[in-house]
Amino acid sequence: MAVLSKLVKWARIKSPWIIHYNSGGCNACDIEVVAALTPRFDVERFGILLKGSPRHADVLVVTGPVTRQTKNRLIRIYNQMADPKFVLAVGTCTITGGVFRGAYGVLGGVDEAIPVDVFVPGCPPKPEAIIQGVVKLLEKLQKT
């Protein structure tokens, strides 16, 4: 069994699949996350693939503050993911609510709803910063 779990861990580190979810942000972080996937920055060289279904994904990339309407949906997506799962929060308002703090539709940062592993600050963070966050996450995976 030990061999098998080692193999699974190796596979996960070499190719983490991500799902991207905008929980109420302004699209700026989203286009930077997508820019990180395209040729100039290309996180695919770390084996990272963007997936459409939460059931296929290891890492949930969240952008934007949690709004009243998306909180339950975010939790539902998180619950649909297979264990072990990780969360990467991209952008300032994903962390604290940022500029939208105090608005009636916004509940605050993503950790109001789900546990977060890596925070990437910036409004929006540059693709390099997002890659750095991914690398940090891979380091964390190594330790599990």
Binding site: I31, T38, S53, R73, V99
Partner: protein, 405 residues
């Protein structure tokens, strides 16, 4: 099977992993044909209009910028010029020119981004990757000018915050040359490539009458033969001085929406050149008193997606009494519902992408057979893959039939 039995309701959304914000659509389909569309929006409703009433004019600059990340300069610039009119100050010419330059560079970035997304929706990922690679050129230019790739924070009340040096000017002109050359190539691809023609020509028709009746805005309206562009029709910034053409296509389909945006990119490049070459000397901003007397102003700009509308009312304090924003996508919601009616399920992704929605979402489609109550769930990605596969099987006959018309 009787006709009634074949009518399905498909809820699509609200969660989406791929590109944009989310929205919920309910499609009523008869076989492969969409017969009715309902929508539900507001998943990203944050309460900005209320929040803005408790912030000062300066703080609201940065709040408005974050209403939309892709057209952030349009939002911020529109807010700044509306407040300027409210306070009865005018930005100096150099400031206005730089602001206009940022607007146009942003339009290039937004249109190229859209072209990539549209290519992705029809399964043409090569073009998606190529366009996004070249888009990095304009992102670099914006970063050089403003210090950030997205959310530039360039406009302020009374002008702009950063100047453009001569050295920077040369770099921008060089970047524009590269962009022009690449955009020429993309135009050729869009006009000749069978993949695009087969999926975009005669798809998602919005006639001129419908566009006028439903008040479509921006490239969506211009692709339906409506000659409207607020840069010319309600001049603001430096647009009454810059020479440019308004691009209008009258084929009313998705292909026209592609070509309008590609051609507009050329216009933007030429306008940026003109603005740089004719950049007046002088200050970049004027002083602004923090309190504004009672007044009200209607402000409009032509954002990359269409008419962006601001209505601001002041009450003598340093905070606005009311700030009303109407984004272009809201205006294009009813037109897109018209476009989808009568089309195939497989065309939904590209038609929805066709208006360049700021909150489209196609993540999860839940199919409910109304008679047997059988359910199955589709993700947006699966819908996209289904649409590509469906076209591989049925593509030839459908395209032939379309071109006959």
């Amino acid at each position: 099977m009787s006709v009634e039995k074949r009518i399905f309701k498909i809820p699509v959304g609200p969660q989406h992993p791929a590109l944009k914000e989310f929205e919920h659509f309910v499609f009523t389909v008869d076989g492969e044909r969409v017969i009715d569309v309902g929508f539900r929006i507001g998943y990203t409703h944050r309460g900005i209009e209320k929040l803005a009433e408790s912030k000062t004019y300066i703080q609201n600059l940065y709040l408005c910028e974050r209403i939309c990340g892709i057209c952030s300069a349009a939002h911020q610039g529109c807010y700044a010029q509306t407040v300027e009119e409210l306070a009865d100050i005018t930005a100096p010419p150099r400031g206005t020119y730089i602001r206009t330059l940022i607007w146009e560079l942003e339009r290039i970035h937004s249109h190229l981004l859209w072209l990539g997304v549209a290519a992705h929706e029809i399964g043409f990922d090569t073009l998606f990757m190529l366009v996004w690679r070249d888009r990095e050129v304009v992102m670099d230019l914006l970063e050089m000018i403003s210090g950030n790739r997205v959310n530039y924070a360039m406009s302020t009340i009374g002008g702009v915050r950063r100047d453009i040096s001569d050295e920077l000017k040369h770099k921008i002109l060089k970047g524009l040359d590269i962009l022009e050359e690449r955009t020429k190539y993309y135009k050729e691809v869009c006009m000749k490539e069978q993949t695009i023609l087969a999926r975009a020509a005669n798809v998602g028709i919005l006639t001129r009458e419908q566009a006028l009746k439903l008040n479509a805005v921006g490239p969506t309206a211009r692709a339906s033969g409506v000659d409207v562009d607020l840069r010319r029709d309600d001049p603001y910034g430096a647009y009454d001085e810059v020479p440019f053409n308004v691009i209008v296509y009258d084929t009313c389909d998705v292909l026209a929406r592609v070509l309008v945006r590609v051609d507009e990119t050329f216009e933007c490049i030429n306008m940026c050149r003109w603005l740089l070459e004719n950049l007046p000397e002088g200050d970049i901003r004027t002083k602004f008193a923090r309190k504004i007397a009672e007044n009200e102003v209607v402000g409009r700009v032509e954002a990359p997606r269409g008419e962006l509308f601001y209505y601001i009312k002041s009450n003598g304090t340093d905070k606005p009494e009311r700030l009303k924003v109407r984004t272009p996508t809201l205006a294009n919601i009813l037109p897109v519902c018209e476009m989808l009616k009568g089309g195939y399920i497989a065309d939904i992704p590209i038609v929805l992408a066709g208006i360049d929605p700021c909150f489209a979402c196609m993540d999860r489609a839940l199919f409910i057979d109304e008679n047997s109550e059988k359910k199955w769930v589709w993700s947006r990605e699966q819908l996209r893959i289904y649409s590509i596969k469906w076209y591989k099987e049925h593509g030839n006959e459908v395209v032939r039939e379309r071109w006959k018309q």
